[in-house]
């Protein structure tokens, strides 16, 4: 079963409230976690996004797609990065998420990656 673990918030704001030592520990924590998930064969992807201030939004204006800067949403609503893991069951995905949240103290959203169509209905 594949699950996506989505981390919201923005790393720069988070870092600005923390000490240099905490940031070092965070780097070590993430490196160790990714190495462990890789070693267990569960890691599919670990993606970090650049700061939400760099985001653009493309939407229809009239009949034409147009890109604008932003959204500039509340930073806590902005996607900061995600993992995709291939694990035995939901309990394992939740256990990984709990491990991360215990360190970052920020919420993680955990959701199954949708399957393809069933073989035969």
């Amino acid at each position: 079963m594949k699950y996506i673990l989505m981390m919201f918030g923005d790393q720069a704001s988070m870092a600005e409230m923390r000490s240099a030592e905490w940031i070092h520990e965070m780097i070590q924590f993430m490196q160790t976690l990714n190495a462990e998930l890789e070693a267990s064969g569960e890691l599919v992807a670990a993606i970090g996004l650049v700061d939400p201030s760099q985001a653009k939004t493309v939407r229809i204006a009239g009949a034409m797609p147009v890109s604008t800067d932003g959204p500039f949403a509340e930073s806590k609503e902005s996607l900061a990065g995600y993992w995709i893991v291939d694990v035995a069951d939901e309990a394992r995905a939740l256990a990984i998420a709990e491990h991360v949240v215990a360190f970052t103290e920020g919420p993680l959203e955990v959701r199954a990656v949708a399957d393809g169509p069933p073989p035969d209905l």
């Binding site: 790393q11 870092a15 240099a20 070092h24 780097i27 070590q28 970090g48 700061d51």
Partner: protein, 402 residues
């Protein structure tokens, strides 16, 4: 990283075989497919059955056979196939020219830089599509499409497999050097992803630039680029700590620098500088050499580095060169002099989207003792950088000043 001997040999022979085939039969795209299949066959057979006495002839024969099989299946081309089958292969005397012509074809100006990079790694580097896809963190099918489209573009541009006329050679060579530089940089700074560096790409860039140096030994910029890569790569082990955090040059443990690699780079720079006008790669290599030869940050010959940046800015002006010159200026004449030079870059559109002006300004403000302003610059830079390790590094710099 140790490469198995068979793979090593295959990658050395790949461009020679492809070059010979393309020169003989034309149709670069079809030849390239055929050579890839021959390489795959060899990779399966040779480790088990032993390397043939004439590995290059073996690969050429197998690839030619694949090519003919391919043509045979297209009945409309039967006549050409007969012509092909009757002609013996030309002698192998010009393997050097073939490989150079092949590199220049892969770096054809009609291709976009990512396509030039992908095609060069496959056709000249002998890497598989899967290996290239992995190095650039894209799905294999995507990379296969990129390579396939690149080959179509070359075909439609009517590019021929010939050495360009002498008057075009410098420009074509410059593009090829830039492609190799991009491969190295992709490996060294990893434009995407959390890993700080991907050594497989830096090693491949160095291998191919070494190859090019053998093909064009008189070109100072080829030697310059090879020296720049070696002198930069020599610092690799010191550039990040055990947890992948960036360590700036000034704080690196110079005991971890590779003395042998530095010696080779310095020798290359020394041999080429002063023989004709120095190009941008030679100058950047000379700057890297000054850093690499300094026993410590404090003992760095900054006046020499500043003088080299002065020349580089005349030869190849860019806002990035000015940024670097500002750092050298600050080390020679004090941070205020450096900050004044940075002021000339405000409003430069080419820097507006990057974090680098803020990062350098933060550094110089820190040297000048204006810690609150330095912290703000580091924070702004952290928000703008596209690299996670750099974002974290800048966040730490800011946090240290709080």
């Amino acid at each position: 990283m140790s490469i198995p001997p068979v793979e090593d040999l295959l990658r050395e022979l790949a461009p020679q075989v492809l070059g010979a085939l393309t020169r003989r039969y034309g149709q670069f795209d079809a030849c390239e497919d055929a050579v890839q299949e021959a390489l795959l066959a060899a990779a399966l057979q040779w480790p088990a059955e032993g390397v043939p006495d004439q590995p290059r002839a073996w690969l050429t024969t197998v690839a030619s056979r694949r090519l003919v099989d391919e043509w045979r299946s297209e009945s409309a081309r039967r006549r050409r196939e007969e012509a092909v089958a009757l002609d013996p292969l030309p002698p192998e005397a010009s393997a050097t020219d073939d490989t150079l012509a092949l590199l220049l074809l892969c770096c054809h100006p009609s291709l976009s830089p990512p396509s030039q990079v992908a095609l060069t790694l496959r056709a000249v580097g002998g890497l598989t599509t899967a290996e290239i896809a992995k190095a650039f963190l894209v799905p294999e099918a995507t990379m296969a499409q990129r390579i396939s489209r690149a080959k179509q573009t070359i075909k439609h541009a009517g590019a021929s497999f010939e050495m360009p006329p002498p008057e075009e050679l410098p420009d074509r060579l410059r593009v090829a050097l830039h492609v190799l530089y991009l491969v190295f940089n992709e490996g060294y700074t990893s434009s995407s992803g959390a890993d700080l560096q991907r050594t497989d790409l830096t090693a491949e860039a160095i291998r191919l630039t070494r190859l090019l140096r053998g093909l064009a030994p008189a070109e100072g910029e080829v030697a310059g680029l090879l020296a720049l890569m070696l002198l930069t790569d020599a610092r690799r082990a010191a550039r990040s700590d055990a947890y992948g955090s960036l360590v700036p040059l000034a704080e690196q443990d110079r005991g971890l620098w590779e003395a042998g690699v530095i010696a080779e780079g310095v020798a290359l720079v020394t041999a080429t500088l002063g023989r004709g006008p120095a190009g941008p790669y030679q100058l950047q290599a000379a700057i890297a050499a000054v850093h690499d030869e300094a026993p410590s940050d404090a003992e760095t010959d900054w006046p020499q580095i500043l003088a080299l940046y002065d020349v580089l800015e005349r030869v190849s002006p860019s806002p990035i060169v000015t940024l670097n010159r500002a750092v050298a200026l600050a080390r020679v004449h004090g941070p205020l002099a450096g900050l004044a030079l940075l002021g000339t870059l405000d409003g430069d559109d080419r820097l507006a989207q990057t974090h680098r002006l803020d990062a350098v300004r933060g550094h110089l403000l820190e040297l000048a003792g204006d810690l609150p302003a330095a912290r703000e610059c580091y924070r702004r830079a952290a928000r703008k950088t596209g690299s996670l390790p750099e974002q974290r590094y800048l966040a730490v710099r800011a946090a240290r000043l709080s």
